[in-house]
């Protein structure tokens, strides 16, 4: 072997060694970046993580709840107090709201406004790992926000069942089942000419209103109930109610909730990876 080719072998060797860690942990490095960025708006994160549950549980659970319980009785809604009925739904709604923030603007930012994703990709990070990293970081935030929500629910006495804590996981899954498809859509946008705002107004808002959040889906006219059936929020809300107060529903329906939420999350996650690969490789 001549000196020259051995130099190249050592270059190739260096390259092969240099990518071992990024290939394995690249997604975590991206998540690390997201956490650093979140740290810059940590105050907002904390205030909303405490503030929302307090405000909503007071207003809906206690305020509106006392009115509902007066007319319907203490076990008037699905056999429990209105507070117990509405609290898991509020947790799931909060998770979906957090997801809709974290999966929209930061994604648009990275692809377009401040194209940091291209910078990550110029380093050894693969496009799919960027998507994975976002999913990891948002999952962490969802777990944290849902846990806090749950603790405050406990303080309000809104959780009759000992299995209630599972709602933390359900809320997180619900957030991902809604947020990841949204991310997939946002990843295809070349320009934001108001699509994200439209999404918030005409998808997120109606979804929170018609997903059995404040009243059972069955009390809506049948021609509107389909909104609940396709809404990931309805599925996560119903599923979390199973755990927080043992809401009665057939087992198959519980399985459908889990499968539907899981499928939305995984299918769109894989789809988003492909879109990112296509978008970054130009």
């Amino acid at each position: 072997m001549t000196a020259a080719t051995s130099a190249q072998v050592s270059d190739s060797r260096r390259a092969l060694d240099g990518a071992v860690k990024p290939r394995r942990f690249g997604a975590w490095y991206v998540a690390e970046h997201r956490f650093r960025v979140m740290r810059s708006y940590l105050q907002t994160l904390i205030v909303t993580a405490f503030g929302y549950p307090l405000l909503y549980l007071f207003a809906m659970g206690v305020g509106l709840g006392s009115l509902v319980d007066q007319t319907q009785g203490q076990q008037g809604v699905e056999g429990v107090s209105y507070l117990a009925f509405v609290a898991p739904a509020l947790l799931c709604t909060a998770a979906v709201t957090v997801a809709s923030e974290e999966f929209t603007y930061p994604v648009m930012l990275g692809f377009k406004w401040n194209p940091t994703f291209f910078g990550m990709n110029a380093a050894p990070i693969a496009p799919g790992q960027i998507i994975d990293g976002i999913v990891i970081s948002v999952t962490a935030r969802l777990l944290l926000a849902s846990s806090l929500y749950y603790v405050i629910m406990l303080i309000f006495g809104a959780v009759p069942s000992a299995l209630g804590w599972v709602a933390i996981l359900v809320g997180t899954l619900g957030g991902l089942a809604f947020g990841v498809p949204v991310m997939t859509y946002v990843a295809t946008l070349e320009q934001d000419t108001g699509q994200i705002a439209m999404l918030m107004r005409f998808v997120l808002l109606p979804m929170t209103l018609f997903s059995g959040t404040f009243f059972p889906l069955a009390s809506m006219p049948p021609y509107l109930q389909w909104i609940g059936w396709i809404s990931p929020l309805w599925h996560s809300t119903e599923l979390s109610r199973v755990f927080t107060y043992g809401s009665a529903e057939p087992l198959w329906l519980t399985v459908v909730h889990i499968l539907y939420l899981g499928a939305l999350f995984v299918v769109f996650w894989m789809w988003a990876r492909r879109i990112a690969a296509r978008r970054l490789n130009k």
């Binding site: 270059d11 490095y29 910078g119 380093a123």
Partner: protein
């Protein structure tokens, strides 16, 4: 020549039917400073993205550090430093954090990245800006930070796409000085530019690219020798008259180029040509004798100026 760190053979990149890069071949030796000179839209940036292992080639062979980017993208990118044409510094992070976070993408330990970040801030003359927001930096500082960021992994090859475009002359000179230091330390530089002075300052060797193909290759000096004369006489007769006066310049200089605003006379002795023009009773409004530059090479090769 030692084993090249980059070998491109008949490289083609097509977007649907349009070939942005249409059969480019070149090699870059370790430690060499190699340039792609050409106007906007010549295919330089596309070539750079293929070399940067982020854009898949349509045809041809490409080897970076002995590896094929189609299969070893992350491996190759672990040894590259990339300075893109449009800054993509992270506006959500402060100056020093930009370096640290970027180093983490290479899987480098945080302690090592911190130390390296401080060294690079010094190199980029940004020590006192460590805690500043990226958006508060000037254009030149941002570009220097981008270069510092590209060096965080001690790259074997530094890719620079239009490194000084949009910077004022002073900022450009500071940047050239930094790049020249890197070159002296033996870093392989590959850069694209449409500024001939930049190519002359920084490149040992370059290719002139136009419409996705290579028009000429060589060192700046040899290209000028081959495609131009030693000196150029620039004469202006007024934009209305340049074309008609040019017809009367037969036999003057080795070659004459008529541009909208001036006439270029190529010759080894510009002053002599100027007196010959005066002898014919033609009196330009202004005249200037200068050395030939890569701009003239480009004009000769393509019939167009670099900056249009």
């Amino acid at each position: 020549m030692p084993t090249p760190v980059i070998t491109a053979n008949n490289l083609v990149k097509k977007y649907k039917e349009f070939a942005a890069v249409n059969g480019i071949s070149f090699e870059v030796a370790p430690g060499e400073s190699f340039g792609l000179l050409g106007p906007n839209g010549a295919g330089k940036s596309t070539t750079m993205r293929m070399v940067g292992a982020v854009s898949t080639r349509t045809e041809g062979d490409l080897s970076i550090l002995g590896l094929d980017p189609n299969r070893y993208g992350p491996e190759i990118r672990s040894q590259l430093g990339v300075v893109p044409q449009a800054d993509n510094l992270d506006a959500e992070l402060r100056v020093r954090d930009n370096l640290i976070v970027y180093g983490r993408y290479f899987g480098l330990p945080t302690a090592r990245v911190r130390k390296r970040a401080d060294e690079l801030l010094e190199f980029a003359q940004l020590e006192d800006k460590a805690k500043a927001k990226v958006d508060d930096l000037s254009g030149g500082m941002k570009r220097r930070l981008t270069i510092a960021r590209a060096l965080i992994n001690d790259p074997r090859i530094l890719l620079l796409d239009e490194p000084t475009t949009g910077l004022d002359p002073q900022a450009r000179h500071i940047l050239w000085d930094r790049l020249f230091r890197l070159k002296e330390q033996g870093t392989t530089l590959v850069l694209t530019t449409h500024y001939m002075d930049e190519a002359e300052q920084l490149c040992d060797r370059l290719v002139v690219v136009d419409k996705g193909t290579i028009m000429a290759e060589g060192s700046p000096a040899s290209l000028i020798r081959e495609y131009s004369s030693r000196e150029v006489l620039e004469v202006r007769f007024g934009s209305e008259k340049n074309a008609s006066v040019a017809e009367e310049l037969g036999g003057i200089g080795e070659r004459v180029e008529v541009l909208p605003d001036r006439i270029l006379v190529y010759s080894d002795d510009g002053e002599a040509e100027l007196s010959r023009i005066a002898e014919r009773g033609l009196h330009p409004i202004t005249s200037l004798v200068r050395r030939s530059s890569l701009e003239d090479v480009f004009l000769r090769l393509t019939g167009r100026s670099l900056i249009e």
